[in-house]
Symmetry: C2
Subunit: 347 residues, 2 copies
């Protein structure tokens, strides 16, 4: 029989078991004792198969991301903060105000319940920073050795303030300036170094942070932002290639203008990485007419994540899809799509 005495004690309260994913009383306890108290809000608490969220008529931004970062906890963040910020930022960079997230958890049998609780607290903290609610969720459990602690898939919806239209990656125009919101390379290295335990002094901390406040300030202060994107997987190099391809433009970047923290530069030299291809989780690039570039960078610098903002390049006539780096010594090299082995599982 599948049934058992519903009042029988949980055999070990300290670890996740397969039965926590079964939909019965163990699932219910996990929900009631761990998830609901952390995320509490009316839409979630209704416990229906779908949450109900009130939205205005018009365009809705809608996105999803899955997170498999290894290790779960790293300097500057953890998988929970990453899962919330990653989705918040995907909404923010299209110009939307994030309003609600969902979270699906795939847990490995044997996961310490304390680790799960720590991740959930971190998600709640990040959601509060971003001003979003987590309104729906799901939990599944897989056998030991069929997962890796915690995987989290988040989705998010965002709305546009009256009169605002979505910002896309296809709007960059010749003559635009490229403005970067902060120094690059921290997140990917923070994860890699904490995984490999290389014992570097002063290792970088992840920049993982919600960027919706920064974006709201930009949209409020500076009209005519043509394109925007956060520089996550694949780093700045890949994001610039994406925008060059989508917008059908060429992009020229001044290598010396791209802020790279000293500890990122040092670790990259040691490991043979190019900081322009290392993932960030709290950095975006914005494209706008050159005349607005100083204003853009100025607004960024007045926000916590934008203190290191810099104008790093320009959009060129022709050369559609090509990104060129002007190096410190004045030469030019193509900054193309990476195709070799990338750092695995950094987000």
């Amino acid at each position: 029989m599948l049934k058992a005495n519903p009042s029988s004690p949980v055999q070990s309260d300290d670890f996740i078991r397969l039965v926590h994913g079964g939909g019965g009383s163990f699932s219910k306890r996990l929900l009631e004792e761990v998830f609901l108290p952390a995320f509490r809000n009316p839409a979630l608490d209704a416990l229906n198969d779908s949450a109900i969220v009130e939205v205005p008529a018009g365009p809705l931004a809608y996105t999803t991301d899955s997170f498999v970062v290894d290790p779960l906890f790293f300097p500057g963040g953890d998988i929970g903060r990453l899962a919330v910020c990653g989705t918040v930022n995907d909404l923010a960079v299209v110009g939307a105000r994030p309003v609600a997230l969902t979270a699906g958890f795939i847990l490995e049998e044997g996961l310490a319940l304390d680790d799960l609780k720590r991740v959930i607290r971190s998600m709640k903290t990040a959601a509060d920073e971003a001003g979003v609610r987590i309104v729906a969720g799901d939990t599944k459990v897989v056998q030991r050795g069929k997962g890796d602690g915690i995987f989290i898939s988040t989705s998010g919806i965002g709305v546009f303030e009256a009169g605002r239209r979505p910002v896309s990656g296809s709007g960059a125009k010749a003559g635009d300036a490229v403005v970067l919101s902060g120094p690059v390379g921290r997140h990917g290295l923070a994860v890699l170094l904490s995984r490999e335990n290389l014992g570097l002094r002063n290792p970088p901390e992840s920049d993982v942070a919600p960027l919706n406040g920064l974006v709201a300030a930009l949209l409020e202060a500076v009209p005519g932002i043509h394109a925007m994107r956060d520089a996550t997987r694949g780093g700045l190099g890949v994001v610039l290639n994406e925008i060059a391809a989508q917008s059908g433009v060429g992009i020229e970047i001044d290598e010396t203008a791209v802020p790279v923290p000293e500890n990122v530069r040092g670790a990259c030299e040691l490991l043979g990485f190019d900081p322009l291809y290392v993932a960030n989780e709290g950095v975006l690039v914005a494209f706008a007419e050159a005349g607005r570039a100083e204003a853009l960078a100025g607004v960024m610098r007045r926000t916590p994540s934008g203190a290191g903002a810099a104008i790093i390049g320009r959009v060129l006539e022709g050369q559609a899809g090509r990104v060129v780096l002007r190096t410190a010594i004045g030469s030019r090299r193509i900054l193309d799509w990476i195709s070799g082995e990338q750092l695995p599982r950094i987000c």
Copy 2:
């Protein structure tokens, strides 16, 4: 260096590699050659960090689910069909019309690309059946032995037809009839039997199907549906307990009225399972005034998933949260939350 010649050939095109999750040119090829051609629609094709979906003002239904079913392919369905139908049905049972889904894939290194393609085709077929688009997605790859082929997390949004309000699990009222849309126990057993390879003759096939057409027909034809839910993980037994708890009512079910297919009954007897606690993926229960029960069942029976609809019980005054089964021999037993080991990984 992370960079490599972007024109270098993929070393093996037949299997998923870690580099497919890196965000570079391998990720791009997987997107362009596998995901985009299958799911093609304007919101997805824009390739921005968030899709843009137009919605009317008012309540929006919003849900998520993660799928870890083992094996990926089973009689009657596969993880792709399950992922689409599970989320479509969570939207449908709150009375919403599903409009868009997202899908996050966590792939295990070494997965056969053909298996991924087959799953994606199946998702597309199910999405077409349900009339929804998959507008955003994400793919991550984990090392061999850190995942299990394919995990999929879907989320979905749905809208309410003008004047309709969300249906919740808390609206069941004393005097209501309980109407079941079809026979129970097929999905869980189909998965279990294909995993264990027990060699039964005539094993059950999964009932996995989108129920939004059935729900739309119900809402159109029968006013005053008080509560609705699909009977997935935990089966009919758990769903009835959820509704009894949320609505603060008692529920009485006539055992003989619950349709159980012969091959489900046989397999359950052999394995020691109770069919009332086996998961379904194409069955819902609806609660409405007793006088409307025949109309409800009649409308269900005119839809493909509702051919086996039956009136199975009633909502009682008092006894809040208690579900009672009247057995074939006239005795009564409590149908409570399951707490023992449930069939793992059936969705």
